[in-house]
């Protein structure tokens, strides 16, 4: 079995992976990093979203071997260095952007990818950007609010 090496949240990692091992399986089972969730496992729901070389991807729709040598960021890399919640995570807490929390890792990674390229998105841009992330609890309003708040925008009128 080939050894697959990459950088995850700034740390060099290496683990054996057969050809068919998905990146999501590599993160969760080979590295024990279970912050990245697997929902549908068919590329529909987006809860497994991570960043690969800075780009949002679904880790269940990519092989571990394809991330060889890549910089991967997962939800575990979203907290501040002292372990406190990062700005996006904090906004999700403040604005009740989660209920059961299962989709939240994917939502946070999608939000982070958006805010990196569009620091002040409109509500419509936020909603369009979340088109590949499903949430079955919140109805999305508070997720959108949280992302607007994380971008430093007034959420009193947003998402109403």
């Amino acid at each position: 079995m080939a050894q697959v090496k990459m950088t995850v949240n700034g740390k060099a990692v290496s683990a054996p992976a057969e050809g068919r091992m998905l990146l999501s399986t590599y993160l969760r089972e080979a590295l024990g990093m279970t912050g990245t969730h697997v929902g549908c496992d068919t590329g529909q729901c987006g809860v497994c979203a991570v960043h690969v070389d800075g780009k949002l991807v679904k880790s269940c729709n990519m092989f571990a071997a394809e991330a060889e040598g890549a910089e991967v960021t997962t939800v575990e890399g979203m907290a501040n260095e002292d372990g406190s919640l990062g700005a996006i995570q904090q906004a999700f807490q403040d604005h009740h952007g989660l209920q059961c929390g299962f989709c939240t890792p994917g939502m946070v990674m999608a939000a982070s990818a958006l805010l990196k390229v569009n620091s002040k998105p409109t509500e419509a841009e936020v909603r369009a950007h979340l088109s590949g992330n499903l949430c079955r609890c919140t109805g999305y309003h508070n997720i959108v609010k949280a992302i607007m708040a994380a971008s430093g925008q007034d959420v009193a009128v947003a998402a109403e």
Binding site: G43, K58, F63, A110
Partner: protein, 259 residues
């Protein structure tokens, strides 16, 4: 998934040799269709030849009359290039942001899903599909559902699109998958009008000759009044054949209006 080896050559020639050597090898582009297919055990290659490390297949270039997109270019990169705005808008409407960061134009055209968007752009703009072996005109390339002119060991390297005078793509989204329930790509270059339809026909993407003729005489939405495409339309839980045939006309009019 069944077991397979995954190989990532950095040269196109090596990738072709791998396909020749392993009879049941399969090319892996961005994997946004192939990986779900493998998970369902609908394909069982012994070797997957990933094209991701072949840098030559990536990037977009243009000259005065054409835009050439490397086969390994992802949808997000095509969406960000505005040389042919109808093409970038089409790429920006495929799937969702994460899919657009992985899925490639070469993968979409090689797969030729009957509801995919890119085949409509290739046919609607009269593109040339450049492969490891030859150049294929889009008119000769698409040969039915998931069928193309590609040989088993042939790899798409780039796609060259003539820059039109005007073009637009309008699709009626299947809301869950964001594939085209029906999508129509209209382009005009001089007196040449092309109308390509995806998502509708049992035979995959097609040029709607009746609409092209009508629009050549009068390039306006009302020129399509009363026209319906002939041939067998797809009928499924999302829409009947009659509904799709109707949508083709509506989408085509909207595309002409947007040109």
């Amino acid at each position: 998934m069944y077991e397979f080896d995954i190989k990532s050559p950095s040269k196109l020639g090596k990738a072709v040799r791998m396909l020749r050597k392993h009879e049941d090898a399969q090319v892996l582009g961005g994997g946004q269709t192939l990986i779900p297919t493998l998970k369902q055990r609908l394909a069982a290659p012994s070797v997957l030849v990933s094209l991701a490390k072949i840098d030559k297949l990536k990037g977009i270039s243009s000259d005065s009359g054409t835009v050439t997109v490397g086969a390994g270019t992802c949808h997000a990169d095509v969406a960000a290039d505005d040389t042919i705005s109808a093409l970038s808008a089409l790429a920006g409407g495929i799937g969702d942001p994460a899919v657009r960061n992985r899925g490639t134009i070469g993968g979409s055209l090689a797969n030729n899903d009957p509801s995919a968007c890119y085949p409509a752009a290739a046919l609607g703009l009269g593109a040339t599909i450049v492969t490891s072996a030859r150049d294929i005109a889009a008119d000769d390339y698409f040969q039915g559902l998931f069928e193309t002119a590609l040989d088993e060991t042939e790899i798409i390297t780039s796609v060259t699109f003539p820059i039109p005078d005007a073009a637009a793509y309008v699709k009626f989204d299947q809301p869950a998958s964001r594939f085209a329930l029906v999508g129509v790509f209209v382009s005009r270059k001089g007196s040449d009008v092309r109308v390509a339809v995806t998502g509708a026909s049992e035979d995959g993407v097609f040029r709607w000759a009746g609409a092209e003729e009508a629009l050549s005489a009068n390039f306006a939405p009302e020129a399509l009044d009363g026209l319906t495409p002939s041939g067998d339309m797809i009928g499924d839980i999302h829409g009947s054949p009659e509904y799709r045939a109707h949508l083709v006309g509506v989408m085509a009019k909207r595309a002409v209006a947007a040109c």
